[in-house]
Amino acid sequence: MAVTEDAPVHRARLGGGVRTPPPVRPRRRGIGWAQRLEIAALSGPAILMFVGFVIFPVLMAAYYGFYRWKGFGPPTDFVGLDNYVTILKDTAFHEALWHNGQIVVLSIVLQGPIALGLALLLNHRMRGQSVIRVLIFVPYVISEVIVGTAWALMLQTNGAVNDILRTIGLGGLTEDWLANPKIAIWTLMLILTWKYVGFAVILFLAGMQNIPSELTEAAAVDGASYWQTQRRIMLPLLGPTIRIWAFLSIIGALQLFDLVYIIWGQYVASTAGTSTMATYMVTEGRNAGNYGYGNAVAVVLFVISMIIALVYQRFVLRRDTEGALTSGR
């Protein structure tokens, strides 16, 4: 997150004068019982909660995925890899996967530049700045249910959006925004951008404020224009923040469920071309009563997310998380 690049700034400022090497502490060599107890007492509760309510259910999902199971009693009808074979052959799943892929790419391509522009804009000192900052996060703060309900109402064929288009003389642009398979995915992207761009802006703003103003001031003294400063100083220093944001965005896009499910419901999503792996999972799993199959889909979704996340961490995030994710070795 944005705070990762915070550390050097902190040290440079607070420890600026005292650059002597820290004294070697004897406890480095081995840790005593007292310290082990502290570690256990402090991290134990979090680990227990996390293992009990995150890891354990995920493992159970993998287990249930091997069964044909209707959700009552313990699963008994072991079917091996049958569920997985069915998933990988199902064209409905292929479509969902393809939609997820589009959403991943489009989210970054659309939201990244927009959020960067907005963060630059809001980094200006101007009147009403704090009010604007609050307002831009409003869509991010309100729930998916509200966003979905409202947009679904506005985007109906006889809804507000088409009405406004007709009023301003663009009647030719009216569309069946939700049901037309050619544009439904773009409608979804519009709503997603509207909803989540605030989160990107919040991160970018925080990242920008971490950049010491001495750097931009020095550039200004050297005669750099505003845009040169942004391009040569802000952007490169914002790199870690942008890469972390992109990571969160990718994971979120792969797991997208709420908005699609609320706006398009369980059946229309696939015909409108907006179904995702998660909506496929709930529709084919829970709603169809095939809990074993649903869990197998969950496993596939997880494996795909995991592979993408690992590849991204290996090739993109490596520099940023060095010493964080890899320090265990």
Partner: protein, 272 residues
């Protein structure tokens, strides 16, 4: 940045605010209209303004019960996530021990576990614990799923507390736990507030988990309530809009009160 802000910047900012707020304003204003007004002209102002939709919702007890449920769930979740999160983050940030990397990787991997993946087994687990239709059944998994984000944000935050402070505390015979309690917690308040707000909003808005766990109207949180209300009164669009706009007010108030702290928290303690 630039010393004089040009009008173009203001104009851009204004358009931006319009775009972001348009739909929200549509919901709020729509609540002041009648259904026939909405049907005949979907995007017009109320004429005349009617207040019946709002007063109906506000005088019924459904709305208030759901506000109570959502508030309780969100507050307990927030306290749990931040409390457990900061303790584990402190260990990860300031202790050197074998398995530290593995522990960090465990929580970091949690970012990749969407609740969707685990929702069916979670439902079974909560059922076995006898917590179906209770708020703790929603709160416990929410705390667990909130931990990864909290820890990922807090660890660098706690690492940034200079070693010198810890050494000074050690010289003053302050134990590690004492250091945690007296120095780390106060110094990391901005980070705690940031993660706390994220946890609160996530809980306030959470939909999938309550959908599985809470089947009883009595226990509904606001998102479930909004959806139930929207399908129950599907022909009464105006009332749905009124209900919807009222249900987003608490989160908005909460957020605007602490907005400064969110950006400030992400920015770090020293500059604030």
């Amino acid at each position: 940045m630039s010393r004089t802000t040009r009008p173009a910047v203001y104009l851009a900012a204004l358009m931006l605010v319009g775009l972001m707020l348009g739909p929200v304003i549509y919901i709020i204003i729509g609540g002041f209209r009648t259904n026939s007004q909405i049907t005949s002209e979907p995007a017009a102002l109320p004429d005349p303004w009617v207040f019946g939709n709002y007063t109906d919702v506000l005088t019924g007890d459904t709305f208030w019960r759901q506000v109570g449920n959502s508030t309780f769930a969100a507050l307990v979740t927030t306290v749990g996530v931040v409390g457990l999160g900061v303790m584990a983050s402190y260990v990860l940030a300031r202790y050197r021990f074998r398995g530290r990397g593995a522990m960090y990787a465990l929580f970091a991997a949690g970012l990749m576990f969407p609740m969707t993946v685990a929702i069916t087994p979670l439902y079974v687990l909560i059922k076995n614990l006898g917590l179906i239709n209770t708020l703790p059944g929603v709160i416990l998994p929410q705390i667990a799923f909130g931990l990864p984000t909290t820890i990922i944000i807090l660890v660098p935050f706690l690492q940034a507390i200079p070693k010198e402070i810890e050494e000074a505390a050690a010289i003053d015979r302050c134990s590690r736990l004492g250091f945690f309690w007296r120095m780390v917690l106060p110094l990391s308040v901005p980070g705690l507030i940031t993660t706390g707000i994220l946890a609160f909003i996530a809980s306030w808005n959470s939909y999938l988990l309550p959908l599985f766990i809470l089947n009883d109207q009595e226990g509904f949180t606001l998102p479930l309530g909004v959806q139930a209300f929207a399908s129950e009164y599907s022909v009464d669009t105006a009332k749905v809009l009124a209900f919807t706009s009222l249900s987003m007010i608490p989160a908005l108030i909460f957020f605007s009160l602490f907005e400064r702290r969110i950006v400030g928290g992400l920015t770090g303690a020293v500059k604030g």
